[in-house]
């Protein structure tokens, strides 16, 4: 692990230089809020924010991605043959990703990179990307990362972690990808004070005011939790929109659609949401998750129970707080997690009389 010190001028020059070898992405303010966008040459990521409105998951998993293309023109030899759409998998770097969002990439990877099935679209994009994290010194009141498996200086999923040090930046090069980016940027002034990172981390963690408890989730019986009495109360306000799932960095569900214009068509994958009633509709018309309560229960059981049991990698949530802040009806995963974690199956028996 190497530490490098980067003053503001070297930072800007370095990013401009690195743009020759990498396609750069970073947070940029558009209208009222920040989004991750491709940076123009010389354009700097804007760190005057805590979290982007939508997570950067779209960089690896676009909301709408064309996978295959085909022609229905029978005068062509290749009609009705599916062909891969050309993708740009040249090196790129995400500059200023938050540690929580970087950690979420590894949770999403569990789904797109399994021993049996590998999603080439997600994986090619992932391997092409260098993740340069910006430590989070001013977390929001809704951030609960420290109890959701990461934290404001968490390093999992990152190739480089950058923190403010007065007027300059201090960067920790965590992987070969991180070192390669630093070399391309010409950031070579080494520093030898790892205690600064520790101090920064401790101070930032001290500013996290929101927590969840997850210690009982794995041990609680799945079916008992599924039958817990609180689901109707939780689900009542839900309007079944996709705000929580679309803003979530760890939600990975998608739908596949063929779209044809004239004689040419594409097969695309689009974000989908377990909150939508049509998410589970069978071709027969039967819908196994026909009610709001079933759908809301699915979302939280997936994040806080099924995932916990299946992967033994903690909860499927990094505590970024986006769903908490953006849910139009204030369904709060922290409240849910508390109810699920403190649930005792005996309560269910008592409630049923």
């Amino acid at each position: 692990m190497t530490l490098v010190k980067i003053d503001k001028k070297t930072w800007a020059e370095g990013l401009t230089a690195a743009a020759d070898a990498y396609r750069l992405y970073g947070p940029v303010k558009e209208k009222d809020y920040h989004q991750f966008k491709a940076l123009e040459k010389g354009e700097m990521p804007d760190f005057d924010m805590v979290n982007t409105r939508l997570s950067p998951k779209a960089l690896l998993f676009p909301q709408s991605e064309e996978m295959l293309e085909f022609s229905l023109d029978e005068s062509r030899d290749d009609h009705h043959i599916m062909k891969a759409v050309a993708t740009d998998d040249t090196p790129r770097a995400v500059v200023g990703i938050r540690p929580c969002d970087a950690k979420s990439t590894l949770l999403v990877k569990l789904n797109f990179d399994t021993p049996d099935v590998k999603d080439p679209y997600w994986l090619n994009a992932y391997h092409a990307t260098t993740f340069i994290g910006m430590a989070c010194d001013t977390p929001l009141s809704t951030c609960f990362c420290t109890t959701a498996g990461c934290g404001p200086y968490h390093e999992e999923g990152l190739d480089m972690l950058v923190m403010y040090q007065g007027d300059a930046y201090l960067a920790k090069l965590l992987t070969d990808k991180g070192k390669a980016f630093a070399a391309a940027a010409g950031w070579s002034e080494t520093a030898d004070d790892p205690a600064v990172f520790d101090a920064g981390r401790k101070a930032a963690e001290g500013r996290i005011v929101s927590t969840v408890k997850t210690d009982n989730l794995a041990d609680t019986d799945l079916l008992e939790l599924h039958g817990a009495p609180f689901w109707d109360d939780i689900a009542f306000s839900c309007i079944n929109c996709g705000t929580c799932t679309f803003s979530c960095p760890t939600c990975w569900c998608f739908d596949i659609q063929d779209e044809v214009h004239g004689k040419s068509g594409v097969r695309m994958k689009n974000w989908d949401s377990c909150m939508f009633p049509i998410f589970t509709v069978h071709t027969t018309g039967h819908n196994p998750r026909d009610t709001k309560t079933q759908r809301v229960r699915q979302r939280f059981m997936h994040k806080l129970k099924y995932f916990v049991d299946k992967y033994e990698a903690g909860i499927m949530c990094v505590g970024c707080g986006r769903c908490v802040r953006q849910c139009p009806v204030n369904i709060d995963i922290r409240r849910l997690c508390e109810q699920m974690n403190s649930f005792k199956p005996a309560d269910a028996c008592a409630a049923q009389g």
Binding site: K31, S64, C241, S247, N330
Partner: protein
């Protein structure tokens, strides 16, 4: 509206205790500043969580659709107009719903307020006329009129138009409100400018459908955007499909929309899709003298023919 919470609890408790209704639908205090959560109570004890302040912008008529039980609902002026529309459209029966009317002085605009202060908002408190915003470094006091949702600032039906009981005396209705200044401004734009304007307006849309789902009018069993046979439109992010969704949805609300603002409030990316619904509202008013949800005895503009309907479009 400060005293409403206690009165709402009292009414809700009585209705449940006397078995007048099976369920009361209202709000409970949210876990975030400027957010409250729609909730229900089915026992007199459960009414203690009920709450009212200037953050109850979600339209509770949305929670009445196709209900089977007898239900009481806490209703602002706009909610009450959507209840009227629901009754007219057979989504609930009049004798099945007990309307607890709330004379409303407007809901505050979370997005606007967030943009008016620096730093994260930690707490928000209110008096009848003021809103106090606390951030880590400062406290800022606003007149409530400065920070109202736009639909509330333009509202001319603050008092419920239909109710079984009121939580307080009626508030004064606003007059001299120019409801359509921004719409008329768009109408004066040239084609190119208009195209660009709507392109900008709708480009942030992520098709989460929060606007549609927060809307009490959008109760179709399967929305046209979700239909598969036939599939009316693409499912991706093609701007043409995004626009098709917003424009068609607005037309489905023509003559029905009460401008409750639930759609704009729910949008996670800050789109003012009310510009579309209000244009149609304005047209309904100008051409048919129609305002949605004011009376149970009148058929909606799009539902009835009258001999004096304008016919200038027939050449």
């Amino acid at each position: 509206m400060l005293g409403y919470t206690e009165k709402i609890k009292e009414i809700a408790g009585r209705l449940l205790k006397e078995c007048t209704v099976d369920m009361v639908i209202g709000f409970r205090k949210g876990t975030m500043p400027m957010m409250n959560e729609p909730c229900f109570a089915t026992t007199p004890e459960a009414v203690d969580t009920l709450w009212w302040d200037s953050n109850c912008g979600i339209n509770l008529a949305n929670y009445l659709t196709n209900r089977k039980e007898k239900v009481a609902v806490i209703a602002k002026g706009c909610d009450s107009r959507n209840i009227v529309t629901h009754i007219i459209e057979n989504k609930i029966k009049r004798d099945q719903v007990y309307i607890v009317g709330v004379p409303c002085t407007g809901m505050i605009d979370k997005r606007k307020i967030t943009g008016m202060v620096k730093g994260e908002i930690i707490a928000v408190s209110e008096t009848e006329d003021t809103i106090k915003i606390k951030t880590a470094d400062a406290e800022t006091l606003f007149d409530k009129t400065e920070v109202l949702q736009q639909n509330c600032a333009l509202c001319i039906h603050r008092n419920p138009v239909i109710f079984d009981e009121m939580v307080a005396d009626a508030v004064q209705e606003q007059t001299d409100v120019d409801r359509y200044a921004d719409i008329q401004k768009i109408e004066t734009m040239g084609t190119e400018e208009k195209w660009q304007f709507f392109d900008d307006l709708l480009s942030p849309c992520i098709r989460c459908y929060a606007c549609r789902n927060a809307c009490p009018l959008c109760y179709c069993p399967t929305c046209f955007v979700d239909e598969a046979k036939p599939q009316w439109m693409g499912k991706g992010q093609d701007p043409l499909d995004v626009r098709t969704f917003h424009f068609l949805r607005a037309y489905h609300c023509a003559g029905r929309c009460t401008d409750c603002g639930a759609c704009e409030r729910a949008c996670p990316v800050g789109i003012n899709m009310r510009l579309l619904t209000r244009k149609l509202e304005m047209d309904c008013q100008e051409q048919f003298g129609w305002e949605a949800g004011l009376s149970l005895d009148q058929r909606p503009a799009m539902d009835v023919y009258q001999a004096n309907d304008p016919e200038a479009f027939i050449k």
